[in-house]
């Protein structure tokens, strides 16, 4: 069986505490992973500055080339992982086996990560608004308009406490290396695969191993990263979001409550937008924060819900290696059962109609895991509790809400797709500070433009713009 060690600044460390990562469907062990402990991380992170020092020895443009090369290795090569070797097919198979994601989705996520790596130069160019990366590397420099600018790195490393079973989030930490920041990751308990494969690809491409640490382990590892890294990101629930609210050192990624709103001017033509709605709800197993969990309109909501239920309700559970598999498993069976129990109560509330019940049982229990088939709920008003819920499977509530109350009632929205040509509504939605990413027109909520920032610009998170004055005398020296 594959043994995967802790990676301490590029050096493998075999822990005496080892955990078997199990196949979601059979319960069979897929690999054994070494577990770190918090103290090890705290001690290692005292040397975090060396990660940045090593990376700063390589010019940013070289690092960008290495990152692009790493994309090829990540996507196509057989790489050393722990005491074994991993081909791209084995990677997909292993990731699917422990996360419950269909293999096809694993491949799509792999392609997404590679795309981001290959296009990192353009992405950083957009995120920095065209800044020469050497200015970030050096800390200051002169812009083309001959003005001195300074961006001070706020950390030597980017820490990340990654989710247990969502392989879609890894693009967020990929820019760290070309920005000459070390990477300190706590891989998710069931999704160790991407961080390890990416680290192997980076190292093979020439990126210093001393810049990368991977610490699988328990909660103490997450806490140690969060408390010791100058900047870190964490993925979690609303509770996690509340816990780190206002902490400038932490970027929290939680539920997205992403929505599609139909303006009164287009809602009568709702059928034209059905494909956008279906894709937004359903793509990638409906698990992401960018998946749509709410369709809001002032009328025709029952028909919209009916049509969505007709499209999504019949979707069946298929084997993860079936090319037609579209649903991801809850690899922790009780989590699936618990989610359904909670949802069942919400669906019985006054003003709520379960539109998918006629398409058969939603909860599908297997020996070691559970699935939830898509659920579409209709809400007579935004006051229905289910109107503000999001789940880890294809779920959406179609909410009837007058247009003039929409912005006030919709709540936090990570991605909002506005289907309207009403300029007043567009302006109000653009101004709404509880909306993050904003799409105008039939753009699925799940379709990300990588040249745009996501939940805050990572450049602003890692660097601080500040005054930097250099006298002519010194400048000449």
């Amino acid at each position: 069986m594959l043994n995967v060690p802790v990676l301490r600044w590029g050096k493998p460390y075999e822990s005496l505490e080892v955990e078997e990562v199990l196949h979601f469907a059979t319960g069979e062990p897929v690999c054994k992973i070494s577990k770190a402990n918090g103290g090890i991380i705290q001690r290692d992170l005292r040397k975090a500055h060396t990660a940045r020092e090593k990376l700063r020895e390589i010019p940013p443009e070289e690092l960008l080339k290495m990152v692009a090369q790493a994309a090829d290795y990540y996507e196509n090569d057989t790489l050393d992982i722990g005491d074994g070797q991993q081909s791209p097919d084995v990677f997909v198979h292993q990731q699917s086996a422990t996360t419950g994601l269909p293999e096809l989705m694993c491949r799509k996520n792999m392609a997404k990560n590679s795309f981001v790596l290959r296009n990192m130069d353009r992405i950083l160019d957009c995120l920095t608004r065209g800044l020469d990366l050497n200015i970030l590397s050096r800390g200051f420099g002169s812009e083309s308009r001959n003005v001195v600018v300074s961006y001070q790195a706020q950390t030597s490393i980017l820490g990340a406490v990654l989710p247990s079973n969502s392989p879609g989030v890894h693009t967020l930490w990929l820019p760290a290396i070309p920005l000459q920041m070390g990477l300190v990751l706590k891989p998710g308990s069931q999704e160790i695969w991407t961080p390890y494969r990416m680290a192997a690809a980076f190292i093979k491409a020439g990126i210093p191993a001393e810049a990368i640490s991977l610490y699988p382990g328990g909660h103490d590892c997450g806490s140690a990263i969060m408390s010791s890294a100058g900047r870190s990101m964490i993925f979690g629930s609303m509770k996690t979001i509340d816990q780190f609210k206002g902490n400038p050192n932490v970027q929290v990624h939680g539920p997205g409550f992403s929505k599609i709103v139909l303006g009164d001017d287009v809602v009568d033509d709702w059928e034209q937008y059905l494909d956008v709605m279906v894709e937004s709800i359903f793509v990638n197993g409906g698990r992401g924060c960018i998946n749509c969990s709410g369709i809001w309109a002032s009328r025709h909501t029952k028909e919209i819900a009916e049509a969505l239920a007709e499209r999504l309700g019949p979707v069946e559970v298929k084997s993860p290696d079936d090319p037609g598999a579209e649903l991801a498993a809850f690899s922790i069976k009780q989590q699936g059962i618990g989610t359904w129990k909670m949802l069942e109560q919400d669906l019985k509330a006054p003003g709520v109609t379960d539109m998918t019940s006629k398409y058969g049982e939603r909860l599908v229990e297997k020996e070691h895991c559970a699935y939830l088939r898509p659920v579409i709920a209709h809400c007579e008003s935004p006051e229905c509790e289910i109107a503000s819920k999001e789940f880890m499977f294809p779920f959406a509530s179609v909410v009837q809400c007058p247009q003039d109350q929409l912005i006030k009632k919709m709540g936090y929205t990570l991605v909002c797709t506005a289907l309207t040509k009403n300029q007043d509504l567009i302006r109000k939605l653009s101004d709404a500070t509880h909306i993050d990413r904003f799409n105008i027109g039939p753009i699925p909520t799940s379709k990300l433009d990588w040249l745009q920032p996501h939940e805050g610009n990572i450049i602003d998170f890692l660097f601080r713009s500040r005054a930097y004055q250099v006298s002519e005398e010194v400048a000449m020296v």
């Binding site: 005496l16 505490e17 402990n37 103290g39 090890i40 001690r43 005292r46 806490s223 408390s227 816990q243």
Partner: protein
């Protein structure tokens, strides 16, 4: 069978005989009208057997229902004082109590006896007689605080203590006030470092694993180390004492095994009900495996089947930890601890069963807040 194996078998038999005899004497004491405590004398009427006549060996303790630690909540505390000890100065040690009524154990001298026996297991080279100690653990109505102080005094030293309220720590965790938790931990470590740097010649330390970790990290942060403070012997305890954590301590925090770093650490396992189980010396050769042995015949640890708590598992097999306390102050006929582990074989130093790999009982693990300080 070799001579050594025969010797071991003899020692195991003798230990078993001692345990049987001690069990009978202890039961006689606790259930005799003239010596027993009100709690057990009252409980006797609920039993379907007569402990005075029907308990003839350790195995006969299986006739008792399992001890429920809930019985220890609330008073009067005097109901636990055996008539045979009436009038003697008594202590009450508490466990839990963050919310509601804590569990209380009455003690007269047990903690002293337990820790004096434990003292014999400490190597003088690293725990020099006459040296001073620091107690880096919970204060308040805790057995541990007085026990460590007694251990130190018994070995001829003076014990320095810190203020640490574990109930407040649990409240901080439950409230999710993690910043406060971190500050409180720093407050405890600051107290410890103040003592260690005040020229008191402290050589020995009790510390919980979490606080030991924090102490070492903070000393490193200040450009020094545990060895530089003069500490040579550490006695530590807790269920989170894993082989990996021990290895990390030895290899990274201490700077090597005792012969290299000059620091010796002994893990222990215990609680207010049982006392203290000692560990077989922990070495890199054995992958830092930690095996605990109870101070038999005063207390026993058994590893029993998850399905039948009266059934021992085989050597090396996994089961739940069952504790029995058999002193003239306190009688606990089989308490199901919130831990599980593997049954360890007897060996020459401890010719009775031990337990290794102690960790929270899997069925309760998610509901238990372990190692809060």
């Amino acid at each position: 069978m070799s001579t050594t194996e025969l010797d071991l078998q003899n020692e195991i038999s003798k230990a078993k005989e001692r345990l049987d005899q001690h069990t009978v004497e202890t039961v006689q004491w606790h259930f005799h009208e003239s010596t027993g405590c009100p709690f057990w004398l009252e409980k006797k009427s609920e039993l379907k057997f007569d402990p005075l006549t029907d308990v003839k060996s350790y195995d006969d303790l299986k006739k008792f229902p399992h001890f429920e630690d809930e019985w220890l909540r609330g008073g009067p505390i005097e109901r636990w004082i055996p008539k045979g000890h009436q009038g003697k100065p008594a202590y009450v040690f508490e466990t839990g109590g963050t919310t509601g009524i804590p569990k209380s154990r009455m003690v007269i001298n047990d903690f002293r006896t337990d820790y004096e026996l434990f003292s014999e297991t400490l190597p003088d080279e690293y725990f020099p007689k006459g040296s001073n100690w620091l107690m880096l653990g919970p204060s308040g109505p805790r057995r541990l605080r007085l026990a460590v102080e007694h251990l130190c005094q018994f070995r001829g030293g003076i014990c320095f203590c810190i203020d640490l309220d574990p109930r407040w720590v649990v409240k901080l965790i439950k409230k999710g006030w993690m910043e406060h938790l971190e500050e409180y931990k720093k407050h405890c470590i600051d107290q410890a470092i103040t003592v260690l740097t005040a020229n008191h010649d402290v050589k020995c330390l009790f510390a919980t694993p979490k606080l030991l970790d924090s102490l070492c990290l903070e000393l490193e942060e200040r450009g020094t180390s545990l060895a530089e403070t003069g500490i040579t012997g550490i006695f530590s305890g807790g269920t989170e004492f894993t082989p990996q954590w021990t290895r990390y301590c030895v290899e990274e925090l201490f700077g090597g095994p005792p012969a290299e770093s000059g620091i010796y650490m002994t893990p222990t396992y215990g609680n207010t009900l049982m006392g203290l189980a000692c560990s077989k010396p922990v070495t890199a050769q054995e992958n830092y495996k930690i095996s605990y042995y109870a101070p038999q015949p005063r207390a026993t640890t058994e590893v029993v089947s998850f399905e039948d708590y009266n059934e021992l598992v085989g050597i090396g097999e996994t089961g739940r930890v069952k504790l029995t306390t058999l002193t003239d102050e306190f009688f606990v006929p089989g308490f199901m601890e919130r831990d599980e582990g593997e049954r360890e074989a007897p060996f020459d130093k401890y010719p009775w069963d031990g337990v290794s790999g102690v960790r929270p009982f899997h069925e309760l693990a998610s509901a238990t807040t372990v190692g809060v300080y």
